[in-house]
Amino acid sequence: MRWRKVFETNEYGKIDRIIWYDQESVIISGQGRRARSLRYADGLEVWQLAATTTNTNSNQDTVAKHCQVIKNRYDPGTIHILSDDLLWSVSSYGEMLWSIEIPIKSTLKNLFLLSTSQYVIVGSLDSNSNQLQVTYYSKQDGQQAFSSSLPWSFNAKDSLNKCSTMNNLILCSNNDELSIITIPTTTDDTNVKTRHIKASSKIEQIRILYESTTRSVILIKSDNGETKIYQFNKKESTSEWDFNELNIQMKSNSFISIATDKNLAGQQILEASANDQKLNFHVSTINEQTLTNTRSYSVELPENMGEIEYLAYSVVKNTQLVTLRMQDGSLLVIKLADNGAELILHRDEALSSIISVETFDLSLSITQMRIEEEFGGTGMFSMFTKRISSQVSQLISFFLRLMDLFTHGNRNRDYLDKQAALVRDEFNLNKILIVVTSVGKVFGILTQSGGILWKNFFPNFAPFEHFNAVHVPLFHIRSAAHYTHEPLASIVYRDRNSLHDTHIRTFNPYTGDLENNLTTSSLPYHVKRVFLSTQAVDEFCKVLLFVDTNNKIHTYPPVPLSRALSTTIPTYIYLFDKSEQAFVGYYLSIDENDQKTSTNLKEVWRVSFQNEEVINIHTRLSSDRVHSAGIVLGDRSVLYKYTNPNLIAVVTEGIDYQKVPFVNIYLLDTVTGSLKLSHTHKRVKSPVHIVLSENWIVYTYYNQRYRRYEAVSSSLFEGEAQYNYSTFSSFDPIEPVIQSKAYILPYGVNAIQVTTTEKGITSRDIIMATPNGMLIEIPWILFDPRRPLDLTPMDREEGLIMYTPEIMVNFESVINYYKYVYNIRGIHTVATGLESTSIVFAYGLDLFFTRVFPSRIFDQLKDDFDFMIIGWSTVAFVVGSFVAKRFASIHQTKKAWK
């Protein structure tokens, strides 16, 4: 990759159209409000222009903006942009030629933008009189020249969806008919001509394949799969066009692209279609009405990539190149040559749209497994024989390995290395990441190298909606702890075509092979929520539990509920009702002898948010461990933590009676439906990022009043005494004491997460991804809500730091150094076998993986540890003690003789 440019995450980064020139391209983004030019050679942004508007924020949020960008065919260096009521022109060398604001009326909507050699023409729909007002603006200075109107039968929405513009033509589909409306280009000609093309059934799509001042090619696709291509030719010295159909036979799923080159005699048309793992191409030259010189190519793809989503065909210096984007997000570049087609580039762009991540431990090595086996068995005799036999086999395999090493050397080095990569290391630092992307491609990634181990594509994939985001439930069905059985992971997703159908796919995370017994494509109920059973059922496998739309709970695979869930501890489930903005808690009681595989839920609590909209919820990580129940204060007393495992954080947004926007953060107990914390922040904007762990919560938001990012940290304490030291119950009458502090953050926040360690002894660090590409590791003690403003000796004894309103970020705590990662959407942290070490995986547009040591490396030797000194000094001490012993005994003997 030579260069890349990351655009803004807000609306100014959304590209509307790219206009390609020889040396650079002009990119229009932000709903036609930004224009910039990028040079191909080095990715340098040559210029950038912003539209000058007077009414910027008037009705920005409510009305969906509409924008049209065209390149003037008669003057290719000029680009006209119509963004709602703003019409402006820029030249390709970065000069704003002119910009005018078209007077707005509520009934008048600007829809079409056309250009001629003299005029820029705006077609606006007057919904009162059902007329299309055509206004001509001078191309030189934007002065309004004249206007006319013509009858119009479509409404604004239909006009946008079903019409396209081309030169001075507006093409609109109306069921099975295509209307071609010719807009006059000069003042003396006012004749609007409308002609029709009939199709065999309802027209689905009109695509303009090629456009120039004299010739154009369009494609019409009907809903019965029939595709027709028409060629338009301009009549001499008029503004009218002739058209004729090209005689071309096409498959229903094929894509078409046209390339022109100065060296080529005519234009070449490329038809591409995907078929399983094969891409087929047909290249022909367009003649008057027929195609000649048809050549066919086909190329085998390394994996199934689904259908074609985008196709571009170009001829660069006599090299025919096809660029494709496939359904699975792959970017392909294929070279067509005389000796056939060749795949020259394949990139998995799906990796930039990860939505779910899980980590699996690698499998034990054979010797590690034998050790596990060695201590199994029941009864003295069997245990003895097992130990002896396993030790004998260890000895034999050791000798065999030695033999192999001497005789064969490094014969299958590569194979062995690959095998070794899949074996768990001593400290369980290397893992395998399972990532699910929003296009339906699942990857298995090795953490030590970042290499993709396997990938699977599910073509009918659609993610579930989860508040304002999408998500795909990904579960550990069987963990890697059971060395006799391979681990299993399951994903649950909806069908792309019928969103009520749910698919379950279970696979082996090491190989990606599907486990067909646990894979299904149809559940006889509509799924509202899915979660994992608390108990393993058969062969250490957990089962999936589904709540359907009738609030009934089912198991998959069907097993009695009494085996899937604990019968002694009641199960509580909460669901969110979006239409009423209410959380409802349910209770599930299971009889031990009950063999039912599904049962109804009973409503036990309800929390409703009136005039507030729930925008997100956040649960604590399942791997969250609390090591100590309290904090030792400076005076040697203990402050007990309120560690309620049933809490979730709820974020709501709303507008209060003074019309001030606010954001509320609640901590909701999901057993009783009570609120343990409720914070209101006025004049604050989402997104709110939350970390919930142990007895504390940290959340960040944007403060509109001070225009800065802030973080609030709150801790919940039981107080000086603990209600129940052994177990926690949500029914305990504890009123948690809340301590909170707010801090100013030096950067914006894209995502935050907390480090995870195996036992939770290591202190916690907050990992924060910032919009400028940094991943910052901030110790939690900087967020501690107990940081005092005036530090007393007692506080110092406890190790508290004095309160400062701003959290100072040291550049040493940027864990990705200068490897900046952009648009991070989530951070995943996992514990390793070493208590000091936590794994961090950040994903978004870029991926980043590293290990962090929140309390430094306290359980490892440093890299520069001097083994020689320790070794030699041990030897010296041993020798010294022997020598001393000898001398002592001689001394003793001498003493005895005296």
Partner: protein
């Protein structure tokens, strides 16, 4: 012209006042009517109703409209029921909005406390009820505990209600921090200002050792070099 303007201003002021009253009415004086229901009869039935004004008081006592006869109490003690939970449902009506919130606690906790419990209502920013919580002062209960309780012919609800409003979220405490910095700086300046003693008095601690060393050194050199010096003096 002037008259007209004046009239317009008066009218405007009136409109603004009216709007203010309306918003005030909508927000603060809007009372909330509450209806408490529980499920001890097997279905939800009301046992208390209450009208409250937000922002005036936060603690209330519920006045029960019915009692629990002994027979019902004994029926509830029989835990074989399919649903061993005491569920409290609070219907609320505020302006045109009405909704309900509810919560549950194990039935035996309420029986053990003889229907004496605390209800906490969580009130949102806009004056709506978000959630409800019931606490009885215990988290565990046993049948023997309940049986030890003296038998009455009928049991009365003794419920107190508490309103809990949303806390204002904390703000970065820049003001106090800056004040503190200022105080520290002032203290520093003051300490420098106050010290206008003469040079000798200020630094005598550092000067004294030097003086002592010099004196001692000269004394020693005098001892050793005295003859030479004396000799020199002699000539």
């Amino acid at each position: 012209m002037f008259e007209q303007n004046k009239l317009l201003v008066v009218l405007l002021v009136l409109i603004v006042q009216l709007q203010l009253i309306l918003t005030f009415d909508d927000a603060n004086s809007g009372s909330v009517s509450l209806n408490f229901e529980d499920n001890i009869d097997g279905k939800f039935s009301s046992f208390s109703k209450l009208n409250i004004h937000l922002s005036s008081q936060t603690n209330f006592d519920l006045t029960p409209s019915r009692t629990i006869p002994l027979s019902q109490y004994e029926r509830l003690i029989d835990f074989k029921s399919d649903y061993p939970y005491y569920t409290l449902k609070v219907h609320f009506k505020r302006g045109a909005t009405q909704d309900y919130v509810m919560t549950s606690v194990p039935m035996c906790l309420v029986l053990q406390a003889q229907f004496q419990y605390t209800v906490t209502l969580f009130v949102s920013e806009n004056g709506y009820i978000v959630g409800v919580q019931v606490t009885t002062g215990n988290s565990t209960c046993t049948l023997s505990n309940i049986n030890q309780i003296e038998q009455k012919t009928e049991y009365n609800y003794k419920a107190t209600m508490r309103l809990q409003l949303n806390d204002a979220g904390p703000q970065p405490d820049t003001q106090r921090f800056l004040e503190k910095l200022k105080r520290q700086q002032e203290a520093k300046i003051n300490s420098q200002d106050a010290d206008n003693r003469p040079f000798i008095l200020k630094y005598w601690k550092y000067l004294l050792p030097i003086v002592v060393i010099v004196v001692l050194q000269s004394a020693f050199t005098n001892e050793g070099g005295a003859p030479a010096a004396g000799g020199g003096g002699g000539t």
